[in-house]
Symmetry: C3
């Protein structure tokens, strides 16, 4: 081989590597606003990681105008027109962090700019109003009030996160402090971010004023922001690359959907779909818009079934993009306490069951139907989900799958009912203190076993059935644990009855 | 470098990228039969995902004749000659779905063709008879009768999946319904797929007749098919791409081998082998046939040790391909209840221990030797496995590893024996109802702890030892749990003895 | 397209594949010593896997001299000069396996060479003395004495791994045998490898003498080697590729940091950092030295925060490389039993608390301060860690994160204290036998629940807080289990008090 050829080949390989790796200054960069240029002067050195992420992002490489001119199916910009201040420039630091300065309680004067650190869905809505509007109707956006505004759930949260001290031989409970709540449930549900004043800091670039924030840092999907909005787009659309690839791959969802309460990612991981993703997706195109089954991907990720605009190879729509995830869900299988039709309004803390409970079902499993979608709406949502299934599976296959899921929903709810009856017997016989005895239903060992029955084992079994990851419906927190737990609850009851009698 | 050459190189890179991504119409497509062309006319639109998968598959791109002409070591086609109807065409929809129409109870007339939805190992055997024949001698093909045909295992299955209701203060058990069984153990073991009639459906392409099937959908490895055969090749060779890459990567096996009962994938994940796979395999060639250690891969996946034809870089065979996985296994370390030599026949439901138990070992650990392979056969299988180890490790290393595994087999069996003795004491003293008391050995809390002893903790510890993923032999369901469980069983016994006396 | 062009394209693709895949004979191979050539004559056939790994390694492709000539920031060779015997040759088999023959008790004459199988940090130090010296000050290098030289930890180890037999109705314990220890805790901590003689073996290449070694095989990070040194570089730098990519990716660490006692990898897996790694790192450069944030990677792996030399895109150092991992750690959050400042000396078995316990904290949580680093040293280490955080996050963000971690450290230690008080009550009342009653604190069910309190649940909660993987601080072995466990311990106590009274 001639040395010339060798040089050429090596050069080509190096070039390929440079293209593949994150590069700080891409060739296609769009014009930047003066404000953003001012940000970059210091922040390229102050926070080089996020600056590099942004430089590689679509935000840095295109302008809103060019995004608006794309054909409708390829367009991610959903506003009818481009705001005046965004014309002719890329979406840089200043475009997001100085928008709506008066609405943002966290705005501070920063090098002559009115800057806020906490970018909110209202800021993103400047270019993505359709997505922000859908997301606001999504339970996820309401994850803070859904949890903290429901006295029953709040009682559960408090007893999970609280502090327990032994005082004179007795366990004394005190409520958790805000840092613990932020580090636990609210990490995913979102904190309440409020401005508590400002602080002056000496930096390498001079002295600056910064807001002092409660509940910060946080990237929870239902965060309450200092501009009065709910939610955090960067929960899934990781700042500052905001890559569609990042949000379309399952690990983005795993941050909050991997625990025993909601093992969606785990179940996907042992499903055929998850195995195909794991083994074959290196050849898929995670950036294509619209996203075509058979051309860009060959098995679903979380986003394919629940969120993304998907088309067939001819470009015909399979499902429209939605950021209101329950548009494709008929039943809430994450039983709290039993399964039920999806709620009408994303703020589930508004649900008041006629039994007095702040739950969509009472302890007998009767639904608060007026707060839930109708069977016809359920059918419509199920059909939306099934359109994706039918891209690869026959109608018989799909109907068989959903019939089996329906059976699993029924049998798991039945098992929860058995556990509930056991707990109710303990409450009635004075072996444990439930609400009627003036106690919390979430603070004694038998009660915790009851919670595990629905929150861990019945949920896991249903997720396994819905997403075909059978391990999680058998030995891995599935039917094995569900029925072992019932038997242990019954044994506990018999043991404590016997002790009481003696 | 001439600019012409540059164009060529860049063009090649682009072309390579195009080849890598799923493309609907690859250049090298082979001729299709008229029947397959008829299928595609509707199904390209009806089920675009699986059509695209197939178009990217070797089945669509080659013909059986060209496959037959490959050198023996590169050949995946194992029939002596090509069936007449397959000559000159690629293996398309019709080639598999219309084969053996009379054997298939699920055959229906579909647009003038005799089509069956459930493709079976007998269909695959038209081109891959060696693999089908090996697989039929594999325990996996017998996973349905091995579980459901053994009264003892069936009792365990039923008590895991059954329904438990509280009636007048007592837990009442009823057997699980077929949908629950299909959603649980039989998801991996395979369902019994039987034709229960036909149904007419209106589709976008007119009205069609479809078979009504029990146990459908299912891709269990031991599925009983409507043509009377056992097994499902697509359990591992995911339809409709049937990629060798898919089956060679560990996630394919994880679908069924990740639970606490058989944590092979989990253990691999914390082993050195798994770490090398996870971190470095992006540069390996998962499509090469034969598969060369050092050239195509540098650490084993599941397939390397258990199934694949592997060679050294000079092309000399390390191990021959086998679809009878226990060809390279001496001992069944997945203790049911204790470890034992691999069974002679894959249908383990035929094993009758002289104690009367339908187990390969009795409760004392004595084997039903006449149903198990001999020490000489064990030695032969162990040597086959060790040939792979010796590709990277010295003889001293390998012997040390297997000696340590032997020790783990003994100590874990001993711990199971201790747990068995504790349970037997409870049975004898009337604190629990075992078979001699007319009860199931699988339905009381103490009995479930005994099951966890061997099925979860002893198994996990042995897999960890066999595959060098120590976490699963210590804190993650290993010796920590194994010995904690024994102590809790002993404590249970003492507690219930004390209560009985008072 | 002309057929010429086609040929060129196909050729280019093949060439690209050859470059990507492990190739047995790379073009850039450096000269080999005569001794290494002699090794390869047989070992290319005897152990082709590791020979191929080495052929693809930097060791095979460069010489120490060229490594020494690299600019300081790119240099991985840290010796001041090249040893005479390494001049002009690549680092091959013989360079490592025949070094320091007299120090190595495992040296044998092997085809006229003095070969030792167990390569030690002292061997690696011939070219990498800075790393070997740092590592020797790292707790990991002392993982054997830290565990086995501390009578309290050894008691825990023995009771985890021991054997339990039922003799006349009583559980009889006996200490674990050495193979079990090697298969369990010592798999990661490292075994004691000693020469117990030699053995003659007939091989395909003639008869050879090999050393007989105890505790072999093992790649534990704190292994005691036959040359008197501690540690195994190949624990992370997997032989025989020794790829920097392998050690920089999290799966390398997962081999030992994935269990419930130290769930670092699990927590990372549900963190934003882990999600970015999982979804986006295919485009990162894991081989670049120095490693530049924003250019080579955009989110931290384990190595980024704890070990690697990292720079900003302008090449300015963020953190210097260190193989003494606690250089960037202020607090030991892996509570044994409570958290405490990092120990001064890596041999923690030297710590003697004034209470008499061989622990850095007593059961009340009081530290053995004289053995621990000072608050000023803690501050220095914390600042080193924070330099990495500040590459992407603001000072307010980072301070908020560390304040929250501090709160978690306090509340989890408090919960451990409650569990300790419960256990102490049981000991005092004679319901369990602790050290003061002549018993082990690690062998009864209530004691095991106490161990799980700090070793599993409090640790998991702290790792989740430190690395932002909230699931492991809530339901997945976090606060849910931490507080459930306390309540179950209290219930146990009440139950056994009641039984005692009757």
């Amino acid at each position: 081989m001639s040395s010339l050829f060798k040089t050429v080949v090596l050069g080509a390989v190096s070039a390929a590597l440079l293209v593949a790796a994150p590069t700080p200054v891409p060739a296609q960069e769009a014009s930047l606003s003066e404000a953003t240029q001012a940000c970059l002067e210091c922040h390229s050195g102050a926070t080089p990681g996020i600056v590099a992420d942004w430089r590689n992002s679509a935000h840095a490489r295109t302008t809103p105008e060019s995004a608006l001119q794309k054909p409708a199916m390829e367009r991610l910009f959903s506003a009818p027109k481009v705001r005046k201040e965004f014309q002719g420039v890329a979406v840089g630091c200043a475009e997001c962090h100085t928008l709506h300065p008066r609405q943002h309680q966290d705005t501070v004067e920063h090098d002559a700019f009115q800057v806020h650190p906490v970018v909110s869905p209202a800021d993103c809505a400047a270019c993505h109003p359709a997505e922000a509007s859908q997301f606001d109707k999504n339970k996820m956006a309401w994850a803070y009030p859904d949890l903290m505004g429901n006295p029953l759930y709040l009682d559960l949260v408090d007893h999970i996160n609280g502090e327990y001290r032994l005082e004179k031989g007795t366990l004394e409970y005190s409520r958790p402090n805000p840092e613990t709540q932020a580090d636990s449930c609210l990490f995913c549900h979102g904190t309440k971010v409020e401005v508590k004043g400002t602080i002056e800091r000496e930096t390498d670039w001079g002295e600056f004023t910064f807001p002092v924030l409660t509940g910060w840092p946080n990237r929870g999907v239902g965060r309450l922001n200092p501009d009065g909005t709910k939610g955090s787009c960067s929960a899934c659309h990781t700042r500052h690359a905001f890559s569609v690839e990042m949000a379309r791959k399952p690990a983005a969802c795993a941050e909050c959907h991997k625990g025993p309460d909601v093992p969606a990612y785990n179940v996907y991981g042992v499903s055929k779909h998850g195995a195909v993703y794991e083994n074959m997706s290196k050849d898929w195109d995670f950036k294509a818009v619209p996203w075509a089954l058979g051309r860009d991907f060959s098995a679903p990720t979380c986003a394919v079934c629940h969120i993304s605009l998907t088309v067939n190879p001819e470009g015909e729509v399979i499902n429209q993009r939605t950021h209101r995830m329950n548009d494709r869900l008929d039943t809430r299988i994450m039983g709290l306490i039993y399964t039920h039709a999806q709620p009408k309004h994303p703020d589930t803390s508004r649900i008041k069951h006629k039994s007095g409970l702040t739950l969509a079902v009472d302890l007998e499993g009767n639904p608060a139907a007026e707060f839930l979608i109708t069977p016809a709406e359920q059918e419509k949502n199920r059909e939306a989900m099934q359109r994706t299934c039918l891209g690869c599976h026959s109608r018989s296959w799909v109907e068989g799958h959903f019939r089996r899921l329906e059976n699993t929903i029924k049998t798991t709810d039945d098992s929860t009912k058995t556990a509930t009856r056991l707990l109710q017997a303990a409450w009635k016989e004075g072996l444990a203190q439930g609400p009627d005895q003036g106690g919390s239903p979430f603070d004694e060992p038998l009660e915790l076993k009851w919670v595990e029955q629905w929150l861990f084992y019945a949920n896991s079994t249903r997720f396994a059935s819905a997403m075909m990851g059978a391990d999680y419906g058998v030995f891995e927190r599935g039917r094995w644990k569900m029925h072992q737990n019932i038997k242990e609850m019954a044994e506990w009851l018999n043991l404590h009855r016997a002790l009481k009698q003696k």
